[in-house]
């Protein structure tokens, strides 16, 4: 039987930095022994000298603690999920307040207490604390996603308030990162908000992005959009990508090796050729729809549930009220993720897109 084993963040370095590892066996014990043979570092963490699961390690099969089943001898089936969760300083179990706060998630079998702990252990980077990044970060914070990184360099402008839910009237003139952090912590003090108060550039992208499990793209310009795409590919991080203009929106999930933004659009338009929201406008509530969908996709990736929008591009036309989905495949001729890539490291995105990173001058 082949099962997926969830490896929590503290153990991930011992398992090739993977969140999920495939292992085989007839029972939970056999699956863990198979895992231990492949990752000897993990073996000493999970087993004692007599090959018994250590007392401080909780093992879950499909969100049920194995001692409520048949212990280590619980049989597994193909496609089952085993989670190996260590007791951490700071509490092995959810606090009563956390159980209450997240109860509407925990009650769903697709989340459960194990899923909630996955959310609390997850690290998500939100690029841009604006129209899309705002609702995305907000719902992640409400769900208790443990670490939310925010990259932005901008200050809150009155014209942002028509759609950017993280910022309020009194925040005008404040750095967006600071305003975002205050709002998120006011909603849920249980999360850790990490601020990167600078424009994302080729100089810092590979320092920031590898610190996270998933990246949500709320970029407002092509220069940053290509940078985030390429950096996520090189850092092997899933990218929940979306863009909106006027009444139209696009959303997809790029998993490295399964297609990228350049497979769709190999090169950017010259500056000014495609209008942006300041020029053409955007329906405020549309950012709420799409940013929320980005939060949903990130949570599906964290929880390992459902079918993430990988290889599928969602097109939403708010005026016709129609959602359409088209399939996107990796283009073998893609300059980044194709068979003969010409882009093998971050490039000069300002030259490539003919436009500077917004905010770079001030940085």
């Amino acid at each position: 039987m082949a099962v997926n084993v969830y490896i929590p963040t503290p153990f991930r370095k011992l398992a090739g930095n993977q969140a999920y590892v495939q292992a085989e066996g007839q029972t939970v014990q056999e699956v863990l022994e198979h895992l231990a043979r492949r990752y000897p570092g993990l073996a000493t963490m999970v087993f004692d000298q007599d090959r018994r699961i250590q007392a401080h390690i909780n093992v879950y099969l499909n969100s049920q603690e194995i001692h409520s089943l048949q212990g280590p001898d619980t049989p597994v089936r193909d496609g089952d999920e085993v989670a190996v969760i260590p007791a951490l300083a700071g509490g092995q179990v959810l606090t009563p307040e956390q159980v209450m706060r997240y109860s509407r998630h925990i009650i769903m079998p697709q989340v459960g207490p194990v899923g909630q702990r996955k959310l609390m252990a997850a690290r998500v980077l939100v690029v841009g604390a604006g129209g899309l990044g705002g609702p995305a970060a907000l719902y992640l914070a409400l769900a208790g996603v443990g670490t939310i990184g925010i990259v932005d360099f901008d200050v809150v402008d009155l014209s942002n308030l028509q759609r950017q839910v993280l910022h309020q009237n009194d925040d005008v003139g404040k750095p967006k990162t600071q305003s975002a952090k205050e709002t998120l912590l006011a909603y849920n003090p249980d999360v850790n908000v990490v601020l990167h108060e600078a424009p994302l550039t080729s100089d810092n992208a590979m320092d920031i992005i590898p610190q996270y499990d998933i990246v949500i793209n709320g970029a407002d310009n092509f220069t940053t959009r290509y940078l985030v795409n390429d950096a996520c590919y090189f850092a092997r991080k899933p990218l929940v990508d979306a863009a909106i203009l006027m009444f139209d929106a696009q959303l997809t999930v790029f998993v490295p090796g399964q297609g990228c933004y350049r497979c769709l659009f190999p090169s950017p338009p010259p500056p000014g050729a495609v209008p942006n929201c300041a020029e053409a406008g955007v329906l405020g509530a549309l950012t709420g729809v799409i940013g929320s969908l980005q939060a949903i996709e990130a949570m599906k990736l964290i929880l390992g549930i459902g079918e993430p929008m990988v290889g599928r591009l969602l097109l939403y036309d708010a005026l016709s009220g129609e959602f359409r989905v088209v399939k996107v495949r990796r283009d073998p001729k893609c300059p980044l993720c194709g068979d003969d890539p010409t882009i093998t490291e971050l490039i000069d995105y300002e030259g490539f897109c003919g436009a500077p990173f917004p905010g770079r001058d001030e940085a």
Partner: protein, 90 residues
Amino acid sequence: MIRVVINGEEQSLERPLTVAEYVASLPVNRRWVAVARNGEVVPRHRWHEILIEEGDVVEVVRMVGGGAPRDGTMVVESRGPDQPTGGERV
């Protein structure tokens, strides 16, 4: 004449066209759109061989950067013949 559905609307084309021919007939720069035929994005290098035929469902996906420049610079006046016009659902 063939009947096709383009971005959700029924339209007629004179004859079956390759994706490349169809895109060339649009008032958009070919580099800034992606085209899906019958639910699947057609890789750019196959635009010359894939035909749009009777009954096909086509999506022309326009490139969108999103958001707004921080200073709100207006550059709308640079909109030229390469641009989708307001009435087009491209």
